[in-house]
C-alpha cells in the first residue's frame, strides 16, 4: 500500500517500550474503592442515577449521558455507593470534581449481559445505540463519545475508510501493542462491526514498523477472518504518526481541513482499544468498565500492562506493579510527550487513561533553564502541523494572543515535538497551552461583557421608557381630573399601549 509522509516529526525518539511490552496483560484485582468522575469524556458530565447507600453490580449504569455529546458510566464491580461528592480528578489543574465513589464488596457480582450472536442482524442505528449505552468513548486519548463518531445516519457524509489507530507512537506506552498481540481476533471482529455499521469500503489497521510480531498476529487474525476489506499496514516509526491527522495523512495522503473532522473527507479513525471495547459491547453485551493500561517507568518495580477497572485509584495499580522504586520522582498520566503530571496517586484512572508513567528524574525532560529563542527554526521543521512554533511562542509570551491565533495556534496538536528539538529548552507547548486556555477565558469574558452590555442597555431603555410613561401618566391624570368620561380613559389606555409599542419598534 502506498504511504505518504507528513511534515516534521521525530524519527529518532527513544522508545522505552521494552520495559512494559514483554509481559502479558495482567488482570488487575478489584480495588477497595472505585471512583468515577462524572465528566471523564468530552462533552457534558454524566448525571448520577444512584444515591449514596445504593448497592450496585458490575456493569450497572450508575450515571447517564446528559445531552447529545456525553456518555454514561457503568460500575466496575459490585458494592455500595458511599459518596457522590468532589474528588481529585486526573486533570492538569489538580482540581476536584463531582465523582461517584463505590466501596467494592469483593464479590464482583455482575448484571446479566445480553450477548449478540450475529451483529449483522442489527441495523446501524441499533449498533450505535449499543455503543452509546455501553459508555464507549475514544480510548486513544481524547475520550470523545464514540457513538457520535459512528452515527452517520442523517448526516451529509459517507464514510469510505475506517482507520484503526494502533500506531501508539508515544514512548513507553504499549497497551495497544499488547492488546493486538493477545486479542487480535476480537479486535478484527470489532473492525467488521465497524465496517458493517458505517457501510465503509475498507478498513486500514496501522501499526508502527518496529513491532513486527504484533503485525504478524494481526495478519493471522485477518487471514482467519477472510474479509478482503480489512488491511493491515506498517507505518514508519515517527512520532506523532499516531496523531489522528498525521495518521490520515500517512495512510491516505489527505489532510483533514483545519477546524473540521475526518468524517468530512470520508474517514473515521478509531483507536484499536476502542474497537475492542465495541466488540465487547456488541458481541458480549458488556459495557465499558475496564481498559488496558500501561504502568511503566523506572519508578515502578514491575512495569507491565494491566487490564484495570476504570475508577481504580492509581495507588492500587502501583501496588499491582510491586510498588514504587527509589527513583520514582514524578507521576505522569499519559506518555512523556503529551501526558501531564499528577499531584497525588489518590486519583482514579478514567476511560482515557492509557498509561501511568512513574518517571525517574532523568526520564522526564528535566526542566533546564530556558534560554532565549535564537530563531533557529528547528521547531518549525519538527512541527507536524507545519506551524511556526517560534512565532507562536513570541506572541504567547508577550500576550499578543490574537496574532498567535492568526498563525493558527489552534491547529497545534500539542504533540511536543517542538519542545524536544528546541536547543534553548523553551517549554513551547506549555506556552501554547497557556495561550489557548487564556484565549478561552478571554472569549468567555468577551461574551460576559456583551451580555452585560445588552442587559445594561435594555435597562437604560426600560428606565427611560418608564420615566416617559410616568410623565405621560401624570399628565393624563391632570387632564383627567378636569373631565373624566369613561370612554376617554379607555382611549388613553389604548394610546398608552400604542406609544409603548411605537417606542419599542423605534428602539429596534
Amino acid at each position: 500500500m502506498r504511504l505518504w509522509s507528513f511534515n516534521g516529526g521525530l524519527p529518532s525518539l527513544a522508545e522505552h517500550k521494552n520495559e512494559s511490552v514483554n509481559l502479558p496483560i495482567e488482570i488487575a484485582p478489584v480495588p477497595k474503592c472505585l471512583v468515577y468522575p462524572l465528566g471523564q469524556h468530552i462533552g457534558n458530565a454524566a448525571k448520577p442515577l444512584v444515591q449514596v447507600g445504593d448497592n450496585v453490580l458490575r456493569g450497572q449504569k450508575i450515571a447517564s449521558a446528559q445531552g447529545m455529546v456525553s456518555a454514561p458510566i457503568h460500575a466496575g464491580s459490585s458494592g455500595t455507593v458511599i459518596s457522590i461528592a468532589d474528588h481529585l480528578i486526573p486533570h492538569p489543574s489538580g482540581f476536584s470534581a463531582p465523582s461517584i465513589t463505590i466501596e467494592t464488596d469483593g464479590v464482583d457480582n455482575e448484571i446479566d449481559y445480553t450477548p449478540c450472536t450475529d451483529f449483522r442482524q442489527l441495523s446501524a442505528s441499533q449498533l450505535v445505540d449499543i455503543v452509546r449505552e455501553a459508555g464507549i468513548v475514544g480510548l486513544g486519548g481524547a475520550a470523545f463519545p464514540t457513538a457520535i463518531k459512528l452515527d452517520t445516519q442523517g448526516k451529509p457524509v459517507t464514510i469510505d475508510t475506517v482507520i484503526l489507530n494502533g500506531a501508539e507512537c508515544e514512548p513507553y506506552i504499549s497497551c495497544d501493542d499488547r492488546l493486538l498481540k493477545e486479542r487480535a481476533n476480537r479486535v478484527i471482529e470489532g473492525v467488521e462491526i465497524l465496517l458493517h455499521m458505517l457501510s465503509a469500503k475498507r478498513a486500514i489497521l496501522a501499526v508502527e514498523d518496529n513491532i513486527p510480531e504484533t503485525f504478524t498476529s494481526i495478519q493471522n487474525a485477518i487471514t482467519n477472518n477472510q474479509n478482503p476489506a480489512i488491511n493491515a499496514v506498517q507505518i514508519p516509526t515517527i512520532y506523532p504518526t499516531g496523531g489522528e491527522k498525521q495518521l490520515i495523512q500517512t495512510l491516505t495522503g489527505k489532510e483533514v481541513p483545519s477546524g473540521k473532522i475526518p468524517a468530512e473527507i470520508g474517514i473515521v479513525s478509531i483507536n484499536v482499544g476502542t474497537v475492542y471495547a465495541i466488540q465487547q459491547a456488541v458481541i458480549e453485551g458488556k459495557p465499558l468498565t475496564s481498559r488496558i493500561i500501561t504502568v511503566t517507568g523506572e519508578g515502578v518495580n514491575k512495569p507491565h500492562n494491566l487490564e484495570a477497572r476504570i475508577g481504580t485509584p492509581i495507588s492500587a495499580l502501583i501496588n499491582v506493579c510491586r510498588g514504587y522504586t527509589k527513583q520514582a520522582d514524578r507521576l505522569i498520566m499519559g506518555g512523556p510527550m503529551m501526558g501531564f503530571a499528577l499531584p497525588s496517586d489518590n486519583i482514579p484512572i478514567v476511560k482515557a487513561t492509557n498509561c501511568i508513567l512513574v518517571a525517574s528524574k532523568h526520564e522526564v525532560v528535566t526542566e533546564k533553564q530556558a534560554m532565549p529563542c535564537i530563531r533557529c527554526g528547528l521547531c518549525a521543521s519538527a512541527c507536524p502541523a507545519s506551524l511556526l512554533p517560534q512565532q507562536l511562542y513570541w506572541f504567547s509570551r508577550s500576550d499578543q494572543l490574537d496574532k498567535a491565533v492568526k498563525l493558527n495556534l489552534f491547529d497545534c496538536i500539542e504533540c511536543g515535538c517542538c519542545d524536544v528539538v528546541c536547543p534553548s529548552h523553551i517549554p513551547l507547548v506549555q506556552h501554547f497551552r497557556y495561550a489557548k486556555s487564556a484565549l478561552k477565558v478571554q472569549n468567555h469574558e468577551k461574551h460576559q461583557s456583551n451580555v452585560a452590555r445588552e442587559r445594561f442597555e435594555a435597562r437604560e431603555e426600560r428606565i427611560a421608557r418608564e420615566k416617559a410613561e410616568r410623565a405621560e401618566r401624570s399628565r393624563k391624570k391632570k387632564a383627567a381630573l378636569k373631565s373624566k368620561p369613561a370612554k376617554e380613559e379607555i382611549d388613553a389606555a389604548v394610546n398608552r399601549s400604542k406609544t409603548k409599542k411605537n417606542s419599542i419598534t423605534n428602539e429596534d
Binding site: 532565549p372 513570541w394 506572541f395 509570551r397 508577550s398 499578543q400
Partner: protein, 193 residues
Amino acid sequence: MSEYLLILVSTILVNNFVLVKFLGLCPFMGVSNKLETAMGMGFATTFVLTLASICSYLANQYLLAPLGLEYLRTITFIVVIAVVVQMTEAIVHKTSPLLHQVLGIYLPLITTNCAVLGVALLSVQEDHNFIESGLYGFGAALGFSLVLVLFSTIRERITVSDVPEPFRGNAIALVTAGLMSVAFMGFSGLIKF
C-alpha cells in the same frame, strides 16, 4: 526615461526622505506601531504627497512666478496642501467609508507632515518640470512608505523583545531608526550628484 528612474531611485533609496533627509519624522515615529496602520499611512501619504507636489508645482508655475510672489511660496504651498488634504478627507469620508477606514484617520495627520511641504519646496528648488515634480513627490512618498512599513514590522518584533526598561518605547525605536539609517548609507553612491 532614465532620468525619471534616477529620480525614483534617488528619492526612494539614496536620499530617502525619512532616513537621510530628515523629513516626515513625526508620523514616521508616531504611526509605526503596527503594520496595518503603517500601510494605511503609507497609502494616504503617497496619494497626498503626489497630489500636493503637483498642485504646488502648478501654483508656483502659474501663479507665484508670473506674479513675482516667490516669497509667499511657503504660505501658498501650505494652504494648498491643507486644502487638498481636507478636501480629500471629506470626500473619502463620504464616498467610501471603507477607504476612510483605511486612510481617513491618517489624512489630517499628513498636513503637518513636513515631508509634504518639504517635497514641494525642494522640488521647486531643483527646478523640476511637471512630470518630474509628480515623480519626485511620488518617489519621496514611496520611500517614506517603504521605511515606514519596514520600521513598523521591526517595531512589532521589538514589542515581543526583552528591551531594557529605559529603552522601551521611543528610545529603542529611535535607535532602530538610527540603525536603519546606517543600513541606508549602503545605498550612498548609487546616485552621483
